[in-house]
Symmetry: C2
Subunit: 315 residues, 2 copies
């Protein structure tokens, strides 16, 4: 069986690839595809790295073959980027997802199709606790595109064209590397940069509640989403992956506790209304009940997000 990961050059794609290679899951090929050539996450002969613009004529259709058994669709234009480049966001976030679903339908109907969605589908006037039955009213083009794809994956699943699984990811913290064009980029920056001895700015007020998951929990949950049976999801393939609710202030308190007041002092508040408008429209708390019943796992405390980052950083 062949496994495909789109967005294979990205942080999540690389982490997921490593985890799959180290897992007991049986497969003979792991294709990492991205618009930039991915690097292989290890010396494993099963890995095939491929540079491809999946919006190009025929690219998605050629990617999926009769050998494909599982596709993780992680590729996306992130939130602030999709807000600034409207056309690119629709092209990558909506059109490529549809091209991939069509490729599955025609090349290999019924394969498992794991779609990485986001809590950014929520927005606007939300209840204090968001649940799976809360309407999605996104306040960003990124959230809109993700919400539309969620519906599309569900319909292709209902028709039997794919065996879809839609996983709504919490904001991930701590992402390694450099800041990106996600509106949530600061969520990692305000922990990562101070630990690396650099200054960071926080564009939102300290009382803002964020809904977070650590990279380790996300990767574990993405694989869980792929290995559950379709029936486990019931009639609807979308699930909010579990997270924990933490305010920016609590994050900084953790940072000071685990590192030092000097490290904490490297973060300064510099309000950015554009970032704030997007991020504060996202839920600060989502009911984890269904996800936990399905066997997804949840982090326990934000302190561990920091220790996880420090230990990965040193590895």
């Amino acid at each position: 069986m062949q496994i495909i990961i789109t967005g294979g050059a990205g942080f999540l794609g690389q982490r997921l690839a490593k985890a799959l290679l180290n897992s007991s899951l049986a497969f003979d090929e792991l294709v990492l595809v991205d618009v930039l050539m991915p690097t292989s996450p290890g010396a494993d002969s099963r890995v095939l790295c491929q540079q491809s613009d999946l919006s190009a004529e025929g690219a998605a259709q050629n990617l999926v073959t009769s050998r494909t058994g599982l596709l993780f669709h992680l590729a996306a234009v992130v939130s602030s980027h999709a807000e600034h480049d409207f056309d690119l966001g629709w092209n990558v976030n909506l059109d490529i997802t549809r091209l991939l679903l069509e490729a599955c339908r025609h090349q290999r109907p019924g394969i498992r199709f794991v779609f990485a969605s986001s809590l950014a589908v929520y927005g606007g006037n939300l209840p204090a606790l968001v649940t799976d039955s809360t309407a999605v009213t996104p306040r960003s083009s990124y959230g809109t595109q993700k919400a539309m794809c969620e519906l599309m994956v569900n319909d292709y699943s209902r028709k039997g064209f794919v065996d879809g699984r839609v996983l709504r990811l919490p904001t991930i913290c701590v992402r390694p590397g450099r800041p990106n064009q996600a509106a949530s980029s600061f969520v990692s920056s305000i922990i990562r940069e101070p630990i690396n001895g650099e200054l960071a700015s926080c564009p939102v007020p300290p009382e803002l509640a964020l809904w977070l998951s650590s990279p380790a929990a996300i990767i574990e949950n993405i694989i869980k989403g792929a290995t559950l049976s379709g029936e486990d999801f019931g009639g609807w393939r979308t699930v909010n992956l579990p997270g924990i609710g933490v305010t920016v202030q609590q994050m900084l308190d953790s940072l000071e506790r685990i590192t030092s007041p000097e490290t904490r002092a490297r973060v300064q508040f510099r309000p950015d209304p554009a970032i704030d408008a997007i991020v504060s429209s996202w839920p600060g708390a989502i009911d984890n009940t269904r996800a936990l019943q399905l066997g997804f796992r949840v982090d326990s405390h934000f302190d561990q997000f920091i220790t996880q980052f420090i230990s990965n950083n040193q590895a």
Copy 2:
């Protein structure tokens, strides 16, 4: 100002055109466009009928011009049709809506864009009373496509590319004419055919609750949706138009009361699992509060649906 109605050859398009021509709304051109050449709903020099496949290259872009001030997008492939012809449904229901939104964005940004959605966006495990904040989990491709368009119209509105209004229509009863490929076609057939002296079959059980609006209320509400100010909608442009909840049994009781036992006896129950699966996934009751606050109107009793049909039929 020019007004455009897509789906202008259809029942709603024709009724809406007549109502606009008889209204106090100021406009100098009313374009009825459809894939089949629409007939003019009256001898009014403001009417321009146009045959056009809006999915064709450039068609949507040429339709909207700097003179356009208001666009009613009613054109759609109906529910059972979209279920049987998957590709056509996506092409007409999703792609044409997007092409029209793009045309507005580039040819005449900020015009009023009234999108006819449907209660078919709901489905699956619904609460007894559906509200504006109930998640949409459609169980048909038609409902999926409508739900995706709702999100898209909202995002284009948020960006200021159109001044969108998304109206979720209840099931309309009584539609004149012949049965169509809507899963809900029977809802009108079981009233219309017996009155016209013909037999009709009912594919769902008598206890099924339907959520209905009369044509007169729908047309009045569509015009209301166009004339409200954008601010009236608050941050979200989607509204469930008001309806009344009626069971099939109650509809047939009304029919017998207003016509005769002989007329009622022309309806026979012939279960159709495919139709039942779609229609029974729709809500039987939706909270009308927000719509009524916005000034939309609601029918009072199903008896009047029948008398409205009989009087229109005789006119």
